[in-house]
Amino acid sequence: MSTLIDGLSLGSIYALIALGYTMVYGIAKMLNFAHGDIIMVGTYAILTTMALCGFPAVAIVMAVIVCTILGIVVEKVAYKPLRGASPLAVLITAIGVSYLLQSIAQLIYGAKPQPVTLINFGHVTFGSTTLNISTLVTLGVAAVIMAGLTVFIKKTKTGRAMLAVSEDRGAAELMGIPVNKVITLTFGIGSALAAAASVFYLLQIPATSPTVGSLPGIKAFTAAVIGGIGSIPGAMIGGILLGVIEKVCMSIPALNPYTTAIEFSLLIVILLVKPTGLLGKKRREKV
Protein backbone atom coordinates (compact mmCIF):
# COMPACT_ATOMS: atom_id res chain seq x y z
CA MET A 1 0.00 0.00 0.00
CA SER A 2 2.64 2.52 1.02
CA THR A 3 4.75 1.33 -1.94
CA LEU A 4 1.90 2.16 -4.26
CA ILE A 5 1.45 5.63 -2.78
CA ASP A 6 5.20 6.25 -2.91
CA GLY A 7 5.11 5.16 -6.54
CA LEU A 8 2.19 7.42 -7.41
CA SER A 9 3.95 10.30 -5.72
CA LEU A 10 7.25 9.73 -7.52
CA GLY A 11 5.26 9.16 -10.69
CA SER A 12 3.55 12.49 -10.37
CA ILE A 13 6.97 14.19 -10.16
CA TYR A 14 8.00 12.38 -13.36
CA ALA A 15 4.68 13.36 -14.89
CA LEU A 16 5.22 17.06 -14.15
CA ILE A 17 8.64 16.95 -15.80
CA ALA A 18 7.38 14.79 -18.67
CA LEU A 19 4.69 17.40 -19.37
CA GLY A 20 7.43 19.93 -20.07
CA TYR A 21 9.12 17.62 -22.57
CA THR A 22 5.90 16.64 -24.26
CA MET A 23 4.38 20.13 -24.53
CA VAL A 24 7.57 21.59 -25.97
CA TYR A 25 7.86 18.66 -28.35
CA GLY A 26 4.22 18.92 -29.40
CA ILE A 27 4.26 22.65 -29.97
CA ALA A 28 7.84 23.58 -30.90
CA LYS A 29 8.63 20.15 -32.46
CA MET A 30 11.92 19.90 -30.61
CA LEU A 31 13.45 17.84 -27.82
CA ASN A 32 14.44 20.25 -25.10
CA PHE A 33 17.36 18.27 -23.79
CA ALA A 34 18.07 20.99 -21.19
CA HIS A 35 14.67 20.55 -19.54
CA GLY A 36 16.05 18.42 -16.69
CA ASP A 37 18.53 21.14 -15.85
CA ILE A 38 15.71 23.59 -15.24
CA ILE A 39 14.84 21.39 -12.24
CA MET A 40 18.44 21.75 -11.06
CA VAL A 41 18.16 25.54 -11.33
CA GLY A 42 14.92 25.34 -9.33
CA THR A 43 16.65 23.47 -6.50
CA TYR A 44 19.46 26.06 -6.35
CA ALA A 45 16.92 28.89 -6.41
CA ILE A 46 15.33 27.27 -3.35
CA LEU A 47 18.71 26.69 -1.68
CA THR A 48 19.67 30.35 -2.15
CA THR A 49 16.33 31.80 -1.08
CA MET A 50 16.21 29.57 2.00
CA ALA A 51 19.72 30.70 2.94
CA LEU A 52 18.73 34.35 2.46
CA CYS A 53 15.31 34.49 4.13
CA GLY A 54 14.31 31.05 5.37
CA PHE A 55 10.65 31.15 4.25
CA PRO A 56 9.74 28.01 2.25
CA ALA A 57 6.81 29.77 0.54
CA VAL A 58 9.09 32.54 -0.71
CA ALA A 59 11.64 29.95 -1.87
CA ILE A 60 8.98 28.06 -3.82
CA VAL A 61 7.72 31.22 -5.50
CA MET A 62 11.31 32.20 -6.34
CA ALA A 63 11.95 28.79 -7.90
CA VAL A 64 8.87 29.15 -10.10
CA ILE A 65 9.80 32.69 -11.16
CA VAL A 66 13.46 31.91 -11.85
CA CYS A 67 12.67 28.72 -13.81
CA THR A 68 9.90 30.32 -15.87
CA ILE A 69 12.07 33.26 -16.86
CA LEU A 70 15.03 30.98 -17.56
CA GLY A 71 12.88 28.72 -19.78
CA ILE A 72 11.66 31.71 -21.77
CA VAL A 73 15.13 33.23 -22.09
CA VAL A 74 16.66 29.94 -23.24
CA GLU A 75 13.97 29.62 -25.88
CA LYS A 76 14.47 33.18 -27.15
CA VAL A 77 18.26 33.15 -27.12
CA ALA A 78 19.14 29.58 -28.04
CA TYR A 79 16.22 27.97 -29.85
CA LYS A 80 14.28 30.70 -31.62
CA PRO A 81 17.15 31.62 -33.98
CA LEU A 82 17.16 27.95 -35.05
CA ARG A 83 13.49 27.74 -36.00
CA GLY A 84 13.36 25.94 -39.31
CA ALA A 85 16.91 24.60 -38.87
CA SER A 86 17.61 20.86 -38.97
CA PRO A 87 16.38 18.92 -35.91
CA LEU A 88 19.94 17.73 -35.31
CA ALA A 89 21.24 21.32 -34.99
CA VAL A 90 18.48 22.07 -32.50
CA LEU A 91 19.19 18.93 -30.49
CA ILE A 92 22.91 19.72 -30.30
CA THR A 93 22.10 23.25 -29.17
CA ALA A 94 19.83 21.87 -26.45
CA ILE A 95 22.61 19.56 -25.24
CA GLY A 96 24.90 22.59 -25.21
CA VAL A 97 22.40 24.56 -23.12
CA SER A 98 22.22 21.62 -20.71
CA TYR A 99 26.00 21.60 -20.18
CA LEU A 100 26.06 25.39 -19.97
CA LEU A 101 23.50 25.45 -17.15
CA GLN A 102 25.35 22.68 -15.28
CA SER A 103 28.67 24.51 -15.64
CA ILE A 104 27.22 27.80 -14.44
CA ALA A 105 25.75 26.04 -11.39
CA GLN A 106 29.12 24.44 -10.72
CA LEU A 107 30.90 27.79 -10.98
CA ILE A 108 28.54 29.43 -8.52
CA TYR A 109 27.83 26.61 -6.08
CA GLY A 110 30.68 24.13 -6.61
CA ALA A 111 30.39 20.51 -7.72
CA LYS A 112 29.77 18.98 -4.30
CA PRO A 113 26.20 17.98 -3.36
CA GLN A 114 24.67 20.35 -0.83
CA PRO A 115 21.82 19.73 1.62
CA VAL A 116 18.63 21.72 1.06
CA THR A 117 16.07 21.78 3.83
CA LEU A 118 12.78 23.09 2.56
CA ILE A 119 9.99 21.80 4.79
CA ASN A 120 10.05 18.83 7.16
CA PHE A 121 6.56 17.37 7.18
CA GLY A 122 7.10 14.25 9.27
CA HIS A 123 4.87 11.23 8.78
CA VAL A 124 1.48 9.76 9.60
CA THR A 125 0.48 6.21 10.52
CA PHE A 126 -2.67 4.49 9.35
CA GLY A 127 -2.92 1.16 11.16
CA SER A 128 0.17 -0.72 10.07
CA THR A 129 1.31 1.61 7.26
CA THR A 130 3.46 4.66 7.80
CA LEU A 131 3.45 7.37 5.14
CA ASN A 132 5.55 10.46 4.70
CA ILE A 133 3.28 13.50 4.66
CA SER A 134 5.51 15.01 1.96
CA THR A 135 4.57 12.07 -0.27
CA LEU A 136 0.87 12.79 0.18
CA VAL A 137 1.40 16.52 -0.35
CA THR A 138 3.33 15.82 -3.56
CA LEU A 139 0.62 13.53 -4.83
CA GLY A 140 -2.20 15.95 -3.97
CA VAL A 141 -0.60 19.14 -5.25
CA ALA A 142 0.68 17.50 -8.42
CA ALA A 143 -2.81 16.14 -9.10
CA VAL A 144 -4.28 19.62 -8.71
CA ILE A 145 -1.61 21.13 -11.01
CA MET A 146 -2.25 18.51 -13.69
CA ALA A 147 -6.02 18.92 -13.45
CA GLY A 148 -5.58 22.68 -13.74
CA LEU A 149 -3.35 22.31 -16.78
CA THR A 150 -5.84 19.97 -18.43
CA VAL A 151 -8.68 22.42 -17.91
CA PHE A 152 -6.51 25.30 -19.16
CA ILE A 153 -5.60 23.43 -22.36
CA LYS A 154 -9.10 22.15 -23.05
CA LYS A 155 -11.25 25.09 -22.03
CA THR A 156 -9.41 28.36 -22.59
CA LYS A 157 -8.83 30.16 -25.87
CA THR A 158 -5.07 30.13 -25.29
CA GLY A 159 -5.13 26.42 -24.49
CA ARG A 160 -6.98 25.62 -27.70
CA ALA A 161 -4.52 27.80 -29.58
CA MET A 162 -1.74 25.60 -28.16
CA LEU A 163 -3.49 22.47 -29.40
CA ALA A 164 -3.95 24.08 -32.81
CA VAL A 165 -0.25 25.00 -33.06
CA SER A 166 0.77 21.51 -32.02
CA GLU A 167 -1.38 19.97 -34.73
CA ASP A 168 -0.67 22.33 -37.64
CA ARG A 169 1.50 25.38 -37.17
CA GLY A 170 0.70 26.92 -40.57
CA ALA A 171 -3.06 26.51 -40.21
CA ALA A 172 -2.82 27.98 -36.70
CA GLU A 173 -1.02 31.05 -38.09
CA LEU A 174 -3.83 31.45 -40.61
CA MET A 175 -6.36 31.56 -37.75
CA GLY A 176 -4.51 34.59 -36.39
CA ILE A 177 -2.69 32.70 -33.65
CA PRO A 178 0.73 34.25 -32.91
CA VAL A 179 2.68 31.01 -33.09
CA ASN A 180 5.94 32.41 -31.73
CA LYS A 181 4.18 33.72 -28.64
CA VAL A 182 2.48 30.38 -28.11
CA ILE A 183 5.86 28.65 -28.27
CA THR A 184 7.31 31.10 -25.72
CA LEU A 185 4.33 30.49 -23.45
CA THR A 186 4.82 26.75 -23.74
CA PHE A 187 8.44 27.01 -22.62
CA GLY A 188 7.27 29.18 -19.72
CA ILE A 189 4.64 26.69 -18.60
CA GLY A 190 6.96 23.71 -19.03
CA SER A 191 9.62 25.44 -16.93
CA ALA A 192 7.13 26.40 -14.22
CA LEU A 193 6.13 22.73 -14.03
CA ALA A 194 9.81 21.83 -13.74
CA ALA A 195 10.08 24.29 -10.84
CA ALA A 196 7.18 22.53 -9.14
CA ALA A 197 8.98 19.23 -9.75
CA SER A 198 12.13 20.64 -8.13
CA VAL A 199 10.11 21.48 -5.00
CA PHE A 200 8.66 17.96 -4.80
CA TYR A 201 12.06 16.45 -5.54
CA LEU A 202 13.57 18.29 -2.57
CA LEU A 203 10.73 17.08 -0.35
CA GLN A 204 11.78 13.50 -1.16
CA ILE A 205 15.56 13.97 -1.33
CA PRO A 206 16.71 17.12 0.48
CA ALA A 207 19.96 17.69 -1.42
CA THR A 208 21.13 19.10 -4.72
CA SER A 209 24.14 19.19 -7.05
CA PRO A 210 24.78 20.61 -10.55
CA THR A 211 23.76 17.30 -12.15
CA VAL A 212 20.72 16.68 -9.95
CA GLY A 213 18.34 17.21 -12.90
CA SER A 214 19.90 14.65 -15.22
CA LEU A 215 18.45 11.40 -13.96
CA PRO A 216 14.91 12.67 -13.25
CA GLY A 217 15.13 14.43 -16.62
CA ILE A 218 15.99 11.23 -18.48
CA LYS A 219 13.40 9.21 -16.55
CA ALA A 220 10.72 11.79 -17.29
CA PHE A 221 11.73 11.91 -20.94
CA THR A 222 11.35 8.12 -20.98
CA ALA A 223 7.92 8.56 -19.40
CA ALA A 224 6.94 11.08 -22.07
CA VAL A 225 8.00 8.70 -24.84
CA ILE A 226 6.18 5.77 -23.19
CA GLY A 227 3.01 7.86 -23.00
CA GLY A 228 3.45 9.09 -26.57
CA ILE A 229 5.57 12.21 -27.00
CA GLY A 230 3.40 15.22 -27.80
CA SER A 231 0.44 13.84 -25.86
CA ILE A 232 -0.42 15.62 -22.61
CA PRO A 233 -2.47 12.82 -21.02
CA GLY A 234 0.23 10.45 -22.32
CA ALA A 235 2.91 12.27 -20.31
CA MET A 236 0.78 12.03 -17.17
CA ILE A 237 0.10 8.32 -17.62
CA GLY A 238 3.69 7.56 -18.63
CA GLY A 239 5.05 9.42 -15.60
CA ILE A 240 2.75 7.72 -13.11
CA LEU A 241 3.39 4.30 -14.67
CA LEU A 242 7.16 4.75 -14.47
CA GLY A 243 7.04 6.02 -10.89
CA VAL A 244 4.93 3.09 -9.70
CA ILE A 245 7.10 0.55 -11.49
CA GLU A 246 10.23 2.12 -10.02
CA LYS A 247 8.94 1.98 -6.45
CA VAL A 248 7.48 -1.51 -6.83
CA CYS A 249 10.76 -2.86 -8.25
CA MET A 250 12.74 -1.19 -5.50
CA SER A 251 10.53 -2.76 -2.83
CA ILE A 252 11.14 -6.29 -4.13
CA PRO A 253 14.67 -7.32 -3.06
CA ALA A 254 15.22 -9.62 -6.04
CA LEU A 255 14.39 -6.85 -8.52
CA ASN A 256 15.84 -3.88 -6.67
CA PRO A 257 19.28 -3.84 -8.35
CA TYR A 258 17.66 -3.98 -11.79
CA THR A 259 15.13 -1.18 -11.30
CA THR A 260 16.55 1.25 -13.87
CA ALA A 261 17.18 -1.55 -16.36
CA ILE A 262 13.55 -2.67 -15.98
CA GLU A 263 12.30 0.88 -16.57
CA PHE A 264 14.24 1.30 -19.78
CA SER A 265 13.27 -2.20 -20.93
CA LEU A 266 9.66 -1.14 -20.52
CA LEU A 267 10.39 1.78 -22.85
CA ILE A 268 11.87 -0.55 -25.45
CA VAL A 269 9.00 -3.04 -25.21
CA ILE A 270 6.36 -0.33 -25.56
CA LEU A 271 8.14 1.25 -28.52
CA LEU A 272 8.38 -2.14 -30.20
CA VAL A 273 4.68 -2.83 -29.75
CA LYS A 274 3.49 0.72 -30.40
CA PRO A 275 6.19 2.97 -31.87
CA THR A 276 4.21 6.15 -31.15
CA GLY A 277 3.89 5.37 -27.41
CA LEU A 278 0.69 4.61 -25.53
CA LEU A 279 -1.33 7.66 -26.60
CA GLY A 280 0.86 9.04 -29.37
CA LYS A 281 -0.29 9.75 -32.90
CA LYS A 282 1.47 9.83 -36.20
CA ARG A 283 2.21 13.38 -37.28
CA ARG A 284 2.15 14.99 -40.68
CA GLU A 285 4.61 17.79 -41.31
CA LYS A 286 3.22 20.95 -42.88
CA VAL A 287 4.37 24.38 -43.98
Binding site: A164, G170, L174, G176, P178
Partner: protein, 236 residues
Protein backbone atom coordinates in the same frame (compact mmCIF):
# COMPACT_ATOMS: atom_id res chain seq x y z
CA UNK B 1 -10.46 49.51 -56.61
CA UNK B 2 -7.74 46.95 -56.15
CA UNK B 3 -8.07 45.21 -52.80
CA UNK B 4 -5.04 42.96 -53.29
CA UNK B 5 -2.12 43.75 -55.57
CA UNK B 6 0.73 41.34 -56.21
CA UNK B 7 3.69 42.81 -58.10
CA UNK B 8 6.61 40.84 -59.52
CA UNK B 9 6.32 38.08 -56.91
CA UNK B 10 9.28 35.70 -56.78
CA UNK B 11 9.55 32.58 -54.64
CA UNK B 12 12.40 30.10 -54.44
CA UNK B 13 12.69 26.64 -52.95
CA UNK B 14 16.45 26.39 -52.51
CA UNK B 15 17.90 26.84 -55.97
CA UNK B 16 14.63 26.25 -57.77
CA UNK B 17 12.70 29.37 -58.62
CA UNK B 18 9.06 28.28 -58.36
CA UNK B 19 7.48 31.71 -58.98
CA UNK B 20 9.19 33.89 -61.55
CA UNK B 21 7.83 37.40 -61.38
CA UNK B 22 4.07 37.05 -61.09
CA UNK B 23 1.82 40.12 -61.00
CA UNK B 24 -1.95 40.28 -60.62
CA UNK B 25 -4.65 42.11 -58.76
CA UNK B 26 -7.97 41.37 -57.13
CA UNK B 27 -10.53 44.15 -57.05
CA UNK B 28 -13.01 44.68 -54.29
CA UNK B 29 -16.12 42.52 -54.75
CA UNK B 30 -14.64 40.22 -57.39
CA UNK B 31 -14.16 36.49 -57.63
CA UNK B 32 -10.79 36.06 -59.30
CA UNK B 33 -9.68 32.61 -60.38
CA UNK B 34 -6.09 31.48 -60.67
CA UNK B 35 -5.89 28.37 -62.80
CA UNK B 36 -2.98 26.22 -63.81
CA UNK B 37 -1.79 22.65 -64.04
CA UNK B 38 -0.52 20.65 -61.11
CA UNK B 39 2.87 22.06 -60.06
CA UNK B 40 2.41 25.41 -61.80
CA UNK B 41 2.95 27.25 -58.51
CA UNK B 42 -0.57 28.15 -57.38
CA UNK B 43 -0.18 26.97 -53.80
CA UNK B 44 3.24 28.58 -53.61
CA UNK B 45 1.63 31.93 -54.50
CA UNK B 46 -1.11 31.45 -51.89
CA UNK B 47 1.37 30.50 -49.17
CA UNK B 48 3.73 33.34 -49.99
CA UNK B 49 0.98 35.99 -50.02
CA UNK B 50 0.31 35.07 -46.38
CA UNK B 51 4.03 34.67 -45.61
CA UNK B 52 3.73 31.03 -44.64
CA UNK B 53 6.79 30.73 -46.88
CA UNK B 54 9.24 33.59 -47.54
CA UNK B 55 9.29 35.63 -50.72
CA UNK B 56 12.46 36.05 -52.76
CA UNK B 57 11.20 39.32 -54.22
CA UNK B 58 8.20 41.42 -55.16
CA UNK B 59 5.59 43.43 -53.34
CA UNK B 60 2.11 42.64 -52.02
CA UNK B 61 -0.41 45.33 -51.12
CA UNK B 62 -3.74 44.86 -49.33
CA UNK B 63 -6.12 47.80 -48.92
CA UNK B 64 -3.29 50.18 -49.84
CA UNK B 65 -1.05 48.78 -47.11
CA UNK B 66 2.24 47.08 -47.88
CA UNK B 67 1.83 43.54 -46.52
CA UNK B 68 4.88 42.05 -48.23
CA UNK B 69 6.39 41.04 -44.88
CA UNK B 70 3.35 41.02 -42.62
CA UNK B 71 3.16 37.68 -40.75
CA UNK B 72 0.15 35.46 -41.45
CA UNK B 73 -1.44 35.89 -38.03
CA UNK B 74 -1.48 39.69 -38.43
CA UNK B 75 -3.04 39.41 -41.88
CA UNK B 76 -5.96 37.55 -40.33
CA UNK B 77 -6.58 40.57 -38.10
CA UNK B 78 -6.46 42.80 -41.20
CA UNK B 79 -9.16 40.77 -42.95
CA UNK B 80 -7.31 38.19 -45.04
CA UNK B 81 -8.39 34.57 -44.53
CA UNK B 82 -7.10 31.51 -46.33
CA UNK B 83 -8.63 28.08 -46.80
CA UNK B 84 -5.39 26.23 -47.48
CA UNK B 85 -4.84 23.40 -49.89
CA UNK B 86 -5.77 20.08 -48.31
CA UNK B 87 -8.23 21.85 -45.96
CA UNK B 88 -5.98 21.48 -42.91
CA UNK B 89 -8.73 21.52 -40.34
CA UNK B 90 -7.61 20.66 -36.81
CA UNK B 91 -8.31 16.94 -37.04
CA UNK B 92 -7.98 16.22 -33.33
CA UNK B 93 -10.36 19.00 -32.23
CA UNK B 94 -14.14 19.06 -32.49
CA UNK B 95 -16.07 20.80 -35.24
CA UNK B 96 -17.15 23.52 -32.78
CA UNK B 97 -13.57 24.02 -31.55
CA UNK B 98 -12.42 24.41 -35.14
CA UNK B 99 -15.03 27.11 -35.72
CA UNK B 100 -14.06 28.92 -32.53
CA UNK B 101 -10.42 28.91 -33.60
CA UNK B 102 -11.57 30.46 -36.85
CA UNK B 103 -12.89 33.35 -34.76
CA UNK B 104 -9.58 33.68 -32.88
CA UNK B 105 -9.16 37.30 -33.96
CA UNK B 106 -12.58 38.35 -32.66
CA UNK B 107 -13.31 39.51 -29.14
CA UNK B 108 -17.06 39.49 -28.50
CA UNK B 109 -18.22 36.07 -27.26
CA UNK B 110 -21.84 36.91 -28.02
CA UNK B 111 -21.03 37.83 -31.62
CA UNK B 112 -18.92 34.71 -32.09
CA UNK B 113 -21.79 32.56 -30.80
CA UNK B 114 -24.16 34.34 -33.17
CA UNK B 115 -21.82 33.66 -36.11
CA UNK B 116 -21.60 30.01 -35.13
CA UNK B 117 -25.38 29.74 -35.06
CA UNK B 118 -25.48 31.38 -38.48
CA UNK B 119 -23.02 28.81 -39.89
CA UNK B 120 -24.98 25.98 -38.27
CA UNK B 121 -28.17 27.26 -39.79
CA UNK B 122 -26.62 27.36 -43.23
CA UNK B 123 -24.94 23.99 -42.89
CA UNK B 124 -27.04 21.88 -40.52
CA UNK B 125 -24.64 18.97 -40.97
CA UNK B 126 -22.01 20.98 -39.05
CA UNK B 127 -24.44 21.48 -36.20
CA UNK B 128 -25.23 17.78 -36.10
CA UNK B 129 -21.53 17.05 -35.90
CA UNK B 130 -20.49 20.00 -33.74
CA UNK B 131 -19.19 17.82 -30.90
CA UNK B 132 -17.58 15.30 -33.24
CA UNK B 133 -13.80 15.14 -33.75
CA UNK B 134 -13.18 16.91 -37.06
CA UNK B 135 -10.89 14.16 -38.38
CA UNK B 136 -13.90 11.84 -38.56
CA UNK B 137 -15.77 14.02 -41.08
CA UNK B 138 -15.96 13.07 -44.76
CA UNK B 139 -13.77 15.00 -47.22
CA UNK B 140 -16.66 17.18 -48.34
CA UNK B 141 -17.69 17.96 -44.79
CA UNK B 142 -14.09 18.81 -43.94
CA UNK B 143 -13.94 21.27 -46.84
CA UNK B 144 -17.19 22.78 -45.64
CA UNK B 145 -15.72 23.10 -42.16
CA UNK B 146 -12.45 24.58 -43.47
CA UNK B 147 -14.40 27.20 -45.41
CA UNK B 148 -16.76 28.12 -42.59
CA UNK B 149 -13.81 28.21 -40.21
CA UNK B 150 -12.15 30.81 -42.45
CA UNK B 151 -15.40 32.78 -42.65
CA UNK B 152 -15.58 32.93 -38.85
CA UNK B 153 -12.89 35.63 -38.96
CA UNK B 154 -15.25 37.75 -41.14
CA UNK B 155 -12.64 38.31 -43.84
CA UNK B 156 -12.68 41.01 -46.51
CA UNK B 157 -10.59 38.77 -48.74
CA UNK B 158 -10.91 35.01 -48.84
CA UNK B 159 -8.12 32.98 -50.44
CA UNK B 160 -9.22 29.49 -51.43
CA UNK B 161 -6.75 26.87 -52.61
CA UNK B 162 -8.33 24.02 -54.57
CA UNK B 163 -11.52 23.67 -52.56
CA UNK B 164 -12.89 21.06 -54.97
CA UNK B 165 -9.88 18.73 -54.72
CA UNK B 166 -10.97 15.16 -54.09
CA UNK B 167 -14.65 15.97 -53.61
CA UNK B 168 -17.70 14.27 -55.09
CA UNK B 169 -19.60 16.33 -57.72
CA UNK B 170 -22.34 16.93 -55.13
CA UNK B 171 -19.93 18.54 -52.70
CA UNK B 172 -18.14 20.45 -55.49
CA UNK B 173 -21.48 22.09 -56.23
CA UNK B 174 -22.16 22.81 -52.57
CA UNK B 175 -18.73 24.42 -52.15
CA UNK B 176 -19.04 26.51 -55.32
CA UNK B 177 -22.52 27.68 -54.29
CA UNK B 178 -20.99 28.64 -50.98
CA UNK B 179 -18.27 30.68 -52.70
CA UNK B 180 -20.86 32.48 -54.83
CA UNK B 181 -22.99 33.25 -51.80
CA UNK B 182 -20.05 34.49 -49.73
CA UNK B 183 -19.06 36.75 -52.61
CA UNK B 184 -22.59 38.12 -53.01
CA UNK B 185 -22.52 39.01 -49.33
CA UNK B 186 -19.50 41.21 -49.92
CA UNK B 187 -16.41 39.06 -49.48
CA UNK B 188 -13.81 39.26 -52.23
CA UNK B 189 -12.51 35.86 -53.31
CA UNK B 190 -9.25 34.69 -54.86
CA UNK B 191 -9.89 31.13 -56.00
CA UNK B 192 -7.18 28.71 -57.02
CA UNK B 193 -8.44 25.71 -58.95
CA UNK B 194 -7.45 22.84 -61.18
CA UNK B 195 -11.12 22.42 -61.91
CA UNK B 196 -10.85 25.25 -64.45
CA UNK B 197 -14.32 24.92 -65.90
CA UNK B 198 -16.05 25.34 -62.57
CA UNK B 199 -13.73 28.12 -61.48
CA UNK B 200 -14.06 30.10 -64.72
CA UNK B 201 -17.82 29.77 -64.63
CA UNK B 202 -18.09 31.71 -61.38
CA UNK B 203 -15.08 34.03 -61.79
CA UNK B 204 -15.34 37.66 -62.84
CA UNK B 205 -11.76 37.50 -64.04
CA UNK B 206 -9.09 34.85 -64.20
CA UNK B 207 -5.35 34.41 -64.61
CA UNK B 208 -3.59 31.41 -66.08
CA UNK B 209 -0.35 30.28 -64.50
CA UNK B 210 2.23 28.10 -66.23
CA UNK B 211 5.45 26.98 -64.51
CA UNK B 212 5.72 30.03 -62.29
CA UNK B 213 4.63 32.65 -64.83
CA UNK B 214 1.32 34.29 -65.72
CA UNK B 215 0.60 33.50 -69.35
CA UNK B 216 -2.93 34.76 -69.85
CA UNK B 217 -5.66 36.82 -68.27
CA UNK B 218 -9.23 37.75 -69.12
CA UNK B 219 -12.78 37.55 -67.88
CA UNK B 220 -14.05 34.15 -66.86
CA UNK B 221 -16.21 34.02 -69.97
CA UNK B 222 -13.37 34.97 -72.34
CA UNK B 223 -11.12 32.25 -71.01
CA UNK B 224 -13.89 29.65 -71.10
CA UNK B 225 -14.17 30.36 -74.83
CA UNK B 226 -10.44 30.63 -75.49
CA UNK B 227 -9.23 27.80 -77.73
CA UNK B 228 -5.83 27.24 -76.15
CA UNK B 229 -7.39 27.27 -72.67
CA UNK B 230 -10.04 24.80 -73.80
CA UNK B 231 -7.34 22.45 -75.07
CA UNK B 232 -5.04 22.74 -72.07
CA UNK B 233 -7.44 22.96 -69.14
CA UNK B 234 -11.00 22.16 -70.15
CA UNK B 235 -10.49 18.80 -71.81
CA UNK B 236 -10.84 19.95 -75.44
Amino acid sequence: MALLTVEDLQVRYGLIQAIRGVSFEVNEGEVVALIGANGAGKTTIMHSICNLIPKAGGKVTFMDKDITNTPAHKLTYMGVAQVPEGRRIFQELTVAENLRLGAYTRKSKAEINASMEEMYERFPILKERSKQIAGTLSGGEQQMLATTRALMSRPKLLLMDEPSMGLSPLFVNIIFDMIKKVNEEGTTVLLVEQNAKKALSIANRAYVLEIGKMVKTGTGKELLEDDSIRKAYLGG
